[in-house]
């Protein structure tokens, strides 16, 4: 089985993003970046399927500027076999990303496509669903467990109020939730070996798909802080205050 994993290069999850002074966007110049954590979980799951002998080849795909190669190298160092960078400058939106990914998937013909459930920068949570729609295949979103079963993949999903089990015919798209697995730590020799693994570069504009953005960012702002609160000295005082606020009977 061949698996394609889509990975996005994003601002590191430990960084609190700062808004540019003119409010035009978030400042990312000079900010530490890395693989989207949910995508890293997707890569890890692909590796585990390979280690179980279910998957034969894992291809990591990213879309963006040249620095997205750092995230592809991360996936290669984790154990992906090869990588594809679709070079594109400027803003990208989920539908355009899904169309570009489809172009690679049409060529590679994988049985399973894995992605993170959302990217931690734009928090849109659309790409996996859109890709599944364009491919005409089933979608297993927010996966907390994946089991291959003949021509089907069973996906345990995290849903409101509990979990749900769905079975999808292969090929299928599955998006990883937080508790699917814990990604491995990359050892230095693997990092070195990853540099020898191939990264193929494609040019987005040559893939014959429309990925022009339709959403324009008008401004960004930090959320307004709540009005300052007060410290109370005892449970009795707290209960009294909450009764005055009429949130306690």
């Amino acid at each position: 089985m061949k698996i394609v994993v889509a990975v996005k290069h994003v601002v590191d999850y430990n960084i609190v993003p700062r808004v540019k002074q003119d409010g035009s966007d978030v400042e990312i110049a000079g900010v530490k970046m890395g693989i989207n954590p949910f995508d890293e979980i997707a890569v890890e799951e692909a590796l585990r399927l390979k280690e179980k002998g279910i998957a034969k080849e894992i291809i990591a795909v990213s879309i963006g500027a040249d620095n997205s190669k750092d995230t592809l190298r991360h996936a290669l160092a984790m154990g992906a076999d090869r990588a594809v960078l679709i070079q594109a400058e400027g803003a990208l939106e989920p539908l355009g990303v899904a169309r570009l990914l489809k172009a690679v998937i049409d060529r590679e013909q994988p049985e399973l496509i894995l992605l993170g459930k959302q990217a931690i920068d734009d928090d849109a949570g659309q790409t996996g669903q859109m890709l599944a729609a364009l491919l005409g295949v089933g979608q297993g979103l927010f996966a907390s467990q994946i089991t291959l079963n003949g021509n089907e993949v069973e996906v345990q999903r995290e849903v409101e109020g509990g979990s749900e089990l769905v079975a999808l015919q292969l090929p299928a798209v599955v998006t990883a939730d937080l508790r699917l697995n814990e990604p491995r730590f990359i050892k230095l020799p693997n990092m070195m070996m990853a540099k020898k693994k191939p990264i193929e570069t494609l040019v987005a504009a040559e893939l014959g798909v429309d990925y022009a953005p339709r959403l324009s960012l008008q401004k960004v702002a930090e959320p307004a802080p709540r009005k300052p609160g007060v410290l109370v000295n005892s449970v009795a005082e707290l209960v009294e205050k909450l009764r005055i606020e009429k949130v306690l009977a």
Binding site: L95, G162, S163, P223
Partner: protein, 310 residues
Amino acid sequence: MSVLILAEHDGHHIKQSTRQLVTAAGAWQQDVHLLLVGGDLSAVVDEAAAIAGVSRVLRVEAPHLTHVLAEDVAAALLQNAAGYSVILAAHSTLGKGALPRTAALLGVGMVSDVVSIQAPDTYVRPTYAGNVLATVKNAHALQVVSVRTTAFTPAANAGVAEIVSAAVPAPFGKARWVSEHKTVSERPELATASVVISGGRSLGEQFNPLLDPVAKKLNAAIGATRACVDAGFAPNDLQVGQTGTVVAPDLYIAIGISGAMQHLAGIKDSKVIVAINHDPDAPIFKHADYGLVADLFQAVPALDAALAAG
């Protein structure tokens, strides 16, 4: 032109999030139609038709829609989308699954998780785990938008909308529902409860023994932090925050919660936030309306006793 809303129900009642979507839809000042999908809608169509501001209820009913798959819901939306200028859904399990799929099938982009509608094509939405609020303008003629419903008040009942049977798409066929495991709880639903009491990892094995009695007295839903869930002290579906359930109750009580950004992003629309923590430097105190620096294992039983005393 009109607005089409993907309504949500549990087979017995329309979810409050649908009423909140109707309020959000008011921003377009157009007719508002609800699309109901299910195996048996007889118990919920009248309730849907009674929501103030709704002029038509589209009934998409078929046996294969009992345990509904996002693939089939997207097909139902697609089949009934003609003539609408706006398609709305909640940013919920169902909406997150069905709406991007619908948008891609329609060949348009969409805007996720909006908290404010500034103009018929301009929205405010949280990004970077709630650290940033982005204002975005959508150039597509058809606006496809998922809504953070807690940011809108629920529409009340009034009038009667017409109920019509709508086209039922053929089953998708390449996906099937197998089973579900829903947490059985006497507590109200986390996303819509008017009181929520949440615990952090420091509660440890005392998570339930400590929170249950208070939750019962307040008729509160119980929530947890990501760290608490990861440590195995609370089940996944209790996680409150940007990547879990977003809540906006009248009263949010944070017990032993330090206040990570992704958690705060999921509670900031609460009316009153109370924090009880032993650490006076915990970031949660900067966001709480009332803070109490105290040992949890004494303060929570004391709170329980005070509530029992009335």
